[in-house]
Symmetry: C2
């Protein structure tokens, strides 16, 4: 079974993660059978190892990491391949893939443009 | 004339800003008469003072700052009001407002959910 790991940066501020959890809830509401978990690089729990453990417990045999980053910085280019390897090491035969970050998804940038244009007043 | 200042975090990586510039281009394509500029908090030029100067030069009398942040951290809560004040001080009578960050826009989270669900394979 395919699963999604929603990866964001993390923050010392406990309120920071709310939009990412709302995103997970939206996905779960539309695809209730698919395991979906949030994970964070820093400060915020769970990390990718704990999140992937939860996905595997729910039957995941393939995990797609979706990087919730608009700008493609060092986190996306160097941390992500390393984290994917860490998940593979932790869970034997699992297939781990990394999606294109959301900042490169035209539909996402289009939705942000719509939001900005609504603000013209 | 109303103008939009697209505020993002910034990065030492010169490639990081590409999605934010693509966003600006999309908005300009759809509303060519409206002044729109990118601005960054750290590392990446221009900063908000330089970006707002460009907007005022193009005739802006009101600037809406759109925070391109998904998670509402310290940058959004404390830096933004301070930056809005700095723009007001730099440009006398200009009206400066701060939009709700994109992470709190339901349409944006919905577009990211769509993108994730397309990845189910």
């Amino acid at each position: 079974m395919r699963a999604i790991l929603l990866l964001a940066h993390g923050s010392r501020d406990p309120a920071w993660k709310a939009p990412f959890e709302r995103l997970r809830d939206k996905i779960v509401a539309r695809a209730p059978a698919m395991p979906v978990e949030n994970a964070y690089l820093e400060h915020t729990a769970p990390d990718v190892i704990e999140a992937s453990r939860r996905l595997v417990t729910r039957g995941a045999t393939a995990i797609e990491i979706v990087p919730l980053f608009l700008g493609p910085g060092g986190h996306v280019r160097s941390d992500l391949p390393r984290l994917a390897d860490a998940i593979r090491s932790a869970h034997g035969s699992i297939e781990v893939t990394i999606a294109t970050p959301i900042g490169e998804a035209d539909s996402v940038i289009e939705a942000i443009a719509d939001y900005c244009l609504e603000r013209r007043g």
